[in-house]
Symmetry: C2
Subunit: 239 residues, 2 copies
């Protein structure tokens, strides 16, 4: 019924605040810088994605990993002809992205304020520890959350570990996020509740087939404020 | 008396396993690669340290941050004349460092095995989440630890947060580590116990003045196995 939920986990990037938009801006600038060496933005982006995927196991998520992959891609696709000044610019692009303003998504503050009165809320995110802590501080949302869980990945085993740590059963946990692959599918897989709030852009690495996801423990919503209605009325009852 | 200790935190890098040695090896190789642009290794290392210090707030700790600072330093000290092939080599040096074998320090396994029977042991480390988790997995020490705490920094406020999270008082906590600045001084500062096990090399950023540290809650040892004697006999009694 969803009435047994005790802890609600919120993904951070593109669920609470803007993130992917900044990656796309950096990538567009990167494609402009590299245009003289390798034609279209599509080709350059495809090469970048190849590098990121190959580096994922070693580097993991986050802007530092992204910046290193940008430099590596620039060298490879230019056959080492990319200028040193351009590499310097790429390093600066990464730093600029780490310093971007924190922009909350609509209704986030209101829904967290309301839910924090009845549930234990936590941030469940992957990526760079320092960067995520910095964003949470900038967001002024810290007081709504019991704590922040930063995981190196969001697979079923990671969520199982999280629930053991929280000392709760899967049916007492609900996850809210914008990535089917990281926030929804693994949580449903271990028996928890999951609410999908799509963001207008999703990184290719995070995409998944939506059509196969269904069931009484899953909901898709268009505004994060609907999470309050869902948990307060019982997930299944209103589903 | 030290008999009230319930949780023992172990720093990881250069306390449980070799780490700084690998940074020094990468740095030596970096100095060789850059020698044609800027004379002595001492000068190059000083420039690198300057870059790392300037980037610390934005990048934090870990090998990805280090690699980005290496590239930035190479560009700066060569006035952008460093070859693209050398930059490629620097990126590869960083990846090689992330893939280094895990080498445990002497007596670590024995002392953890012994202490884990009577105390809750945790790993308390900063740096890169993915990299630290990977090292802990490689170490085969996971079963001795209740969990791993990865913090973005190790200041007094970070330890206070940790103790709140563990739901214990400072006098119930002892920290063991090789960095006076990160493992010893802040823990003594909040009223906990601290055991200093120096490693043969310490990164300049982590050094501190040892002479000012004393008191019944502090001990310096030369082998990690001595931690067992200290806690089993009472810290103050044997101090």
């Amino acid at each position: 019924m969803g009435r047994e939920i005790e802890v609600i986990g919120f993904d951070a990037d593109d669920t609470l605040w803007i993130n992917e938009t900044y990656y796309l801006e950096t990538e567009q600038e990167f494609c402009r810088l590299l245009a003289e060496y390798r034609g279209s933005s599509e080709e350059i982006s495809a090469e970048l994605f190849k590098t990121e995927t190959a580096n994922m196991e070693l580097y993991g998520y986050g802007i530092k990993a992204f910046t290193l992959s940008l430099v590596e891609t620039a060298l490879r696709i230019s056959n080492n002809r990319v200028s040193q000044a351009t590499i310097e610019k790429i390093i600066r692009l990464g730093k600029a992205q780490l310093s971007k303003p924190l922009v909350l998504l609509d209704d986030v503050e209101q829904v967290l304020s309301r839910l924090s009165r009845s549930f234990r809320l936590i941030v469940v995110t992957k990526g760079d520890l320092l960067d995520q802590e910095r964003k949470l501080r900038k967001s002024d949302l810290e007081s709504f959350f019991h704590h922040i869980e930063i995981m190196s990945d969001k697979k079923e085993s990671d969520y199982r570990k999280l629930l053991r740590h929280l000392d709760i059963e899967p049916r007492q946990f609900m996850m809210v996020g914008n990535s089917l692959r990281s926030d929804i599918i693994p949580v449903l897989g271990i028996g928890g509740y999951a609410v999908y709030v799509p963001f207008h852009t999703t990184w290719e690495h995070e995409t998944a087939d939506e059509s196969s996801i269904s069931g009484p423990r899953y909901r898709k919503i268009s505004r994060i404020s609907q999470v309050a209605e869902i948990v307060e009325c019982g997930l299944a009852a209103s589903g």
